[in-house]
Each structure stands twice: as C-alpha cells, then as structure tokens.
Symmetry: C2
Subunit: 265 residues, 2 copies
Amino acid sequence: MNAKPIGVFDSGVGGLTVFKALRRRLPKERLIYFGDTAHVPYGSKSKEAVTRYALWVGKFLVRQGVKLLVVACNTASALALEDLKRSLGIPVIGVIRPGARAAAQATANRVVGVIATEATIQSRAYERAVREALPRTKVLGVACPLFVPLVEEGWWDHEETRRVAREYLKPVRCSKMDALILGCTHYPLLKGVLRKAAGPRIRLIDSAEEVAREVGERLAQTGSLNTRGPGSSRFFASDGPERFLRLAKRFLGQEVKHVSIQRFD
Amino acid sequence: MNAKPIGVFDSGVGGLTVFKALRRRLPKERLIYFGDTAHVPYGSKSKEAVTRYALWVGKFLVRQGVKLLVVACNTASALALEDLKRSLGIPVIGVIRPGARAAAQATANRVVGVIATEATIQSRAYERAVREALPRTKVLGVACPLFVPLVEEGWWDHEETRRVAREYLKPVRCSKMDALILGCTHYPLLKGVLRKAAGPRIRLIDSAEEVAREVGERLAQTGSLNTRGPGSSRFFASDGPERFLRLAKRFLGQEVKHVSIQRFD
C-alpha cells in the first residue's frame, strides 16, 4: 500500500485521454496531471528540446512526491523516456510500449500502422517497439500534423476533418494492414472519423486503456496500489489557465475547476 | 549613416515573409533574424508567456548590436510591443500599426476585416489600430487557427485549404467589408486561396510590405540607414535546426544555408 500520487505528464491537454483511463481504472489513486502548455506542441520540436522540457516536468512531479510517472505524450515517450528513467529514480511508464504490444496482439497479417506527429514517426520508436513484441512485423508510419490543430479547433466530426483523414490514411487503406496505432493522445477524439477513413478491416489501437492497465499491474506487482483512497485529481500547466480549462473540458468530458500555473522559463 | 544590423523577430519561420520584404527594400542593410522555434506557436499562448519570450529575444538581439527591432510576429506585436519598447532602449516596430494604416487607406466602406491567430484576435489590437487610423470604422476579426498548420504542412493550394478558407471567411463574404488584413505572417503564402475565398470585392492587406516601408522611413528620418553596404543576412533560432532550414526555404523562396541555435530555457 502506497498512498503517494501518480504523476501524469503531457505536452498539453491531449494526455487527459490517458488521465481519464487511469481515473476510471484506478479510482482510489491520487492523480497529478501536468500539461506543458508553455511549450506545446512537442511534435515539431527537437529531441534535445523535448528532453529538456520533459526532465524539468518530471523533476517537478518528483518534488510533488509522485510514486510513478506516466509519460502520456507520445512524442516525449518516443524521444525522452530513457533520459527520464535514468534521471528520476521512480518507475516511468511511456505510451509507446503498451500501444505497440496491443497492436502486436491485434494483427493477424503482421502489418501494423502508426499515425502520429512528425517527431514520433521520425523517431521510429513504435516501429522498434512493435517488432520487439512481434518480430518480422511490417510497420507503416504516417505523420499527421493537422490532426492536433483540428482536434483543438473542436472539428472532431467535421467534413474537413473527414477529408484530411481520408488523405492521410490513403497509404493505410492500400495495404494489408489490420491494426492501426493512434500514436498521439489527441487522436482518440477522432476515433469515429478515423474508423471510417481506415475502413472496417482495420482495428484502431488506443493506447490510453493499455497504459492504464500497465500502470495498475506495475503498482500491484510492487504492492504500491493505494487501496484505501480516496482518489483525487490535481492539475498543473506551464501556461494558461483559460485555454487549458476550456480544452480540458473537451478531453475529459467534464469540467476542470482549477489548474495551478507553474512556469519554468 | 549607421552600419549596425536590423533585428527581425518572430515566433518561428513566418516572419521570414517580413524579412524578405526588408531584404528587397533595404538591400544594403545587415539583417539578423531570430525565430523562437522552441516556443512556436505564440498564437495560442498567454500574454504573460509571449511577453517573457519576446523580452528574452529582444534583449538577445540588442546584445548583437541591432539599431532597430522589427517584431514580425503579429501575436507578439499585439501582446508585447509596449513592454519591448519600454525595455530595449532602441526603436521597436511592430506589424499591427502598418497593416492597420494600409487597411484604413484601402477601405471605402469603412468596414475592415482581420484574420489572425486566436491570441491576436482576442487582444483587439488591430481593432484599436484601425480605428486610430480611421475613426468609426467597423472591424471584424476572425480567428483562423488552422491556417498556420496548413501552411507549415505545405498545403498552400490544396483543396482542403480552400475549403477551410471558405468556412473561416463565411462572415467576411456576408458583410460590406472591402479590405481584409492578413494578420499573421503565415497568411501571405495563402494569398491565392484567400483571394478566391474572400471574393473579388475585398482587397487583401499584406503588412510585410508596409512594415518594410515604415522601417526604411524611420531609419531615413534619423540618418540611420546603412548607405554603404554590403547587406547581409544572419539567422538564429531557439530550436532546430532541421525544421527551420526546411521551412525557411518555403517562406523565403531560397535556401538558408545556416541557422545558429540559441537556446534560452
């Protein structure tokens, strides 16, 4: 039994899809969310910059006493996970490996797709993680930089979003792929649109649920679950707060009443 | 005669449209460009964050010996111009006033439109500047957050961009507006698309040319032009360099060979 909080870190509000899954699966845990809204988006920035930001946030959350850190941001998981593990002295769980494992289980043809930001695709992190889980699997990565702004604009089921999705997913439809990893925390909000654009043969892999499962297992293995409760939620951001609160409502499906602003540059 | 360089500052690569106009109009000047690519985009960040970033870059350029600072970023001009003027001890020229003045001259109906980022529209800076230049003018602001990612994706003349433009400009077409300010440095690259979406009655105001003219006049008034030359161009960014160099080529229409990386957080 360990009553310390779990830290959840993302470049902005997208990681709230992971936060929501954790909230549901581990209702007795205290959760602290940090959105690095001063530096969002990470997807078009360098490995060096993303690592610097991630280490700062990770160290801040360690000072808040978290027992485990969830890196809910795909780009930070792809570029900075090893540095975080080396530096923080607590267990760190990213979103890449859980998503890759779920895709490896879902594919029958050994052809898996990944849609994500430019930086995540270029890192080839999903490609490596899928092949580690299921050797000799073909992995096709497609960078979809317009999806994040479309989600943040609220155009989740908009005709333009459907068209952009059809355009981006053209190479996906023309392959033998049967599992497609949603490799960015914003994308689960586009599930309806993506399902249509990808076609019925392709299973969509949303890593939020997988990550929540892995966090639960890891804490259970080391006897670190909070079995007593009560659960709680606390939110930090590095810029805001208006935009954070407005978007958070969309991602969580319920209102966030307060976000503490913690600047770091 | 003053041979010191001119500083040009933007949140990323968009300000290169202003840089290009300066390069053409003042070929004997030494120009130093700074793109704050570690924090791009500014358009969705708070006034406090944007001011902090702008002051850091402004002070860096002053240390490089610039005689005048051009704030090529609309959001930074809208949110941080006064702070920069107070703090830097050199003349500071933003993009809002020159664009607003050009619009005031262009409108016959006294109905002017502004398309820009969320932060620029919310600041109402263009509204104030247009009314200062031409009292009792109606100013209609429309936030167009998807245009920047569309330009950076290279979709300048893409069917989806045309559709998004038609959607955003619906309130523009339904009014008596006859001048539309392109209130973001990325938008001049969409001129073709915007012209069609706005319709033939509406004149598009690209402030890059206006800003270059104002810079030339200001330097001439104080005897600070570099009359001897030779002109030169130097580029700094706070993150990169790959993405900066790749996008710079699109914005300048010619290759940038080198960008120096200057981090500040």
